[in-house]
């Protein structure tokens, strides 16, 4: 059986390098299979996150040949095998060890989001069409690949001012829930910094769940923010009501 050559990042917070491994190719093999082979035969301490190995949990994100991917869904037969396959950790997050990164920032952002708060008079009847729209956002498996490719986070490291596509998707799921009663536009504008997104759609391109992050989540949310904060009539009404802008 033929071998594939891998160059896998080995290192920690301080330093690291790409190390070469050879893995026998099996039919239908994915990159995560190869990483498991390397663990079992060559590098037992190779740090990799994974759980379901079926694209449902979003744990095994990494950059394969420079492209952000779920390693459990990246087939070897879709990659050029005449050159080494590089596997590196997600660049937008600090490396803990090897392919494992510190994604704890995401969990801190999530805490800021006002939870689902149903209307007091909700009768819990919904039609499938309005549910469909929100279910798209709830498909998110939190692989954080969208966060990883977002320029605002990856290149400009604005983690203090910006929530990132994952959390716009989450807010969209709440804002468009047929029975939710809150408005999160203030949060979007001030704490999650939605204005910093310049709609390059990189997040949408890498989403393994095919969520139309930019078109269906971010743009409608941006519109809501504009309506609430930059529409002169609403601005005036808000002034009258004495709410903070």
């Amino acid at each position: 059986m033929a071998d594939a050559t891998f160059e896998v990042f080995r290192g920690d917070r301080e330093s690291g390098e790409l190390l070469e491994y050879h893995v026998p190719i099996a039919p239908g093999m994915v990159v995560l299979d190869a990483l498991h082979y390397i663990q079992a035969h060559q590098a037992p301490d190779l740090a990799v996150r994974w759980n379901c190995k079926a694209g449902k949990c979003g744990s095994c994100s990494a950059e394969v040949n420079g492209r952000p991917r779920l390693t459990c869904k990246t087939r070897l037969d879709a990659l050029p095998l005449d050159e080494p396959i590089t596997v590196q950790p997600m660049k937008a997050f600090p490396v803990l060890k090897d392919l494992v990164t510190d994604v704890s920032w995401n969990y801190r952002v999530n805490k800021k989001i006002l939870p689902f708060t149903p209307r007091p008079d909700a009768e819990w009847k919904m039609n499938q069409r309005e549910v469909d729209r929100v279910q798209e956002f709830r498909k998110c498996i939190e692989c954080f690949l969208c966060q990883n490719v977002c320029h605002v986070l990856r290149d400009h490291d604005k983690k203090e001012q910006f929530g990132g596509p994952r959390f716009f998707v989450r807010v969209a799921g709440l804002e468009m829930h047929p029975l939710d009663s809150l408005s999160r536009t203030q949060l979007l504008k001030n704490e999650l910094g939605i204005g910093l997104c310049n709609i390059t759609k990189c997040c949408t391109e890498v989403c393994p769940e095919d969520i139309h992050i930019t078109d269906n989540a971010i743009i409608p949310l941006k519109e809501r923010v504009v309506d609430d904060f930059y529409d002169p009539v609403r601005w005036f009404l808000r002034k009258l009501a004495g709410r903070k802008g």
Binding site: P44, K53, K56, F116
Partner: protein, 571 residues
């Protein structure tokens, strides 16, 4: 040398952050308790996220004739009457309320035409009963619970593994664990502990389970003196992927059959006709798994030793809408378009009916202060679990465990951590680094999986089980001397070395119980004892620790009250 460790204190420590753990945490928080949740992975990645088909609850939204009695009867029949009937009754009663609650916390289920929660058919359920979100119900459930818990304010210790429960005399006082990231130790002080660690599938080679499913919670409880029950009942899900090799065992949801999928052998015969002509593909999982296995063994299997499962007679759009993740999974991993042709499927180790013995009302074990819920606990499912009953199990008994653990914590005075137990625990964890020879933990794990797959699989007999037990003794010796390379920083080899110990404990309990039960019932099939045995219908196998020895005893099942008997006997 004494290892340093940090200490954290909570009223209640919950081990495991899947559906049961999170639901327990939410309930304990609602009682005003301080709650810590420990999980081996990141929050939101627990096995619940992989549940596909739905949550079984007699909401009667689609079939008005459904009610808790029918759900109770189906569960008892599916479990071949070995279930703890009180648990089955509570479960059937409370599931609808638990589903409604999830919806009120933000979960969005598929809808009926009149706007209610839609329910689908599943094996062994008399009515359309499974509340679902396409085929990603578990994801919806775990996100809803996770966000609810986070906002209520539990402390989550992610990528942290517990290696030992600490006791103060007879009662629970805390737990010792390590951070996966840096290998440092942490001691939790707690008045009650809830074990919600799920199952044990990683002890088999072909499994739908993730790396986390190593039986930690059951082994921890066993080590602390808790009893395990019904350990012979391991569910092999009939439909796992069989090809290509890397995806072998990955789950193919029962919802495929629930939505009308048909099973055939290589001759095109719809073979379920010969095994269960009445229920066909929607027979219970034990029956369908044995049928597929038998077809393959007798030479009627597919190219890769499974059966064909076909849903392509349904409109492509319908398939993509109701089974989106199956559509993607097969297209991306197996080059199969399930809207156009059949899938190849075969049995995969999926779920543990047995586990820690608990009280039906409170989820309490026989160790004071220790509770268990979800897959880690035994009782509800008896000899075979119906699809959809696990997610409802997590909600119903997770909640009850949280409630009882909080009540217990309120009544409990201060407990003390015994430093000697901590020292012993850290010493044990660090030993593998000191060895320069010994097996790699990966090699021992591979051999364990082969042993369980070959000798403690779907069909069992005395000779195989004896041999399996014999192999397990050898593996235990090898596991006690494994060598770990590298440092304590995020070192999967080291983590596996510890997980092996848990897997070996539960594997031995499974093999021992399987050898003892000389009959076939539900998921436990003995070739040498192929029939039901009336004597065994009233007995649970109980496993407990006696010094360093694993002991097995029988426990007689309490008589069912008259009103429940009548429900069960109704046709």
């Amino acid at each position: 040398m004494t290892e340093k460790y940090e200490t954290r204190e909570h009223d209640i420590l919950i081990i495991g952050a899947g559906g049961a753990g999170l639901r327990a945490a939410i309930e304990a928080l609602a009682q005003g308790a301080s709650v810590g949740v420990v999980c081996k992975s990141l929050l939101g990645k627990a096995h619940t996220v992989m549940a596909e088909g739905g949550i079984a609850a007699a909401m009667s939204n689609v079939d008005a004739a459904d009610d808790w009695r029918t759900h109770f009867r189906d569960t008892m029949r599916g479990g071949k009457f070995l279930n703890n009937w009180r648990m089955a009754q509570i479960h059937a009663h409370e599931s609808p309320e638990r589903v409604r609650e999830l919806e009120q916390w933000g979960a969005l289920f598929d809808r009926t035409a009149d706007g209610n929660i839609l329910q689908r058919a599943f094996g062994g359920h008399s009515f359309k009963r499974l509340c679902h979100v396409g085929d990603r119900t578990g994801l919806e459930m775990i996100r809803t619970l996770q966000d609810r818990g986070v906002h209520m304010g539990f402390d989550v210790y992610m990528e942290c593994a517990i290696t030992r429960l600490l006791k103060d005399g007879e009662r629970i006082a805390g737990a010792l664990g390590y951070w996966r990231e840096n290998g440092r130790f942490i001691v939790f002080k707690a008045k009650s502990i809830v074990i919600a660690t799920g199952g044990i599938g990683k002890a088999w080679r072909i499994t739908s389970n993730s790396w986390e499913y190593t039986g930690d919670g059951m082994a921890l409880a066993y080590d602390a003196g808790a009893e395990l029950m019904d350990m012979e009942f391991v569910q092999f899900h009939p439909t796992g992927m069989v090809w290509p090799p890397g995806v072998q065992g990955i789950l193919v949801t029962e919802a495929v059959r629930g939505e009308g999928g048909v099973l055939t052998n290589k001759d095109g015969e719809r073979f379920m006709q010969r095994y269960d002509p009445k229920k066909m593909e929607l027979s219970t999982r034990d029956v369908v798994a044995r049928a597929i296995y038998t077809e393959a063994r007798e030479g009627r299997g597919t190219e890769h030793g499974g059966a064909y499962l076909d849903i392509s007679h349904k409109p492509a759009e319908y398939v993509k809408k109701k089974l989106p993740s199956m559509y993607h999974q097969f297209r991306e991993l197996a080059d199969v378009d399930i809207t156009k042709g059949p899938m190849e499927v075969g049995p995969t180790c999926h779920y543990m009916m047995g586990g820690i013995r608990v009280d039906a009302e409170s989820a309490q074990t026989n160790v004071p202060g220790l509770f268990a819920a979800g897959e880690a606990a035994a009782g509800l499912h008896g000899a075979n679990r119906l699809g959809g009953n696990s997610l409802s199990d997590l909600l119903v008994f997770g909640r009850r465990a949280g409630l009882a653990a909080a009540a217990q914590a309120k009544q409990t005075g201060p407990t003390a951590i015994d430093d000697a137990q901590v020292k012993d625990g850290t010493r044990e964890m660090l030993e593998p680094f000191e060895r320069s020879d010994g097996d790699s933990p990966y090699d021992v794990h591979r051999d364990l999986q082969e042993t369980m797959q070959n000798y403690v699989g779907i069909f069992r007999n005395e000779e195989d089980l004896d041999r399996g037990l014999n192999e397990l003794q050898k593996l235990k010796q090898r596991a006690a001397k494994v060598r770990v390379d590298g440092s304590r920083l995020f070192n999967p080899g080291w983590h596996l070395a510890r997980d092996l110990k848990s897997m070996l404990t539960v594997s031995e309990a499974v093999a021992l119980s399987a050898l003892e039960r000389r009959e076939s019932r539900g998921a436990h099939s003995r070739i040498d004892y192929p029939n039901y045995d009336e004597q065994w219908s009233k007995l649970n196998n109980i496993i407990a620790r006696d010094g360093e020895t694993m002991r097995l005893r029988h426990r007689t099942i309490a008589e069912m009250p008259e009103d429940l008997k009548q429900i069960v006997e109704q046709t």
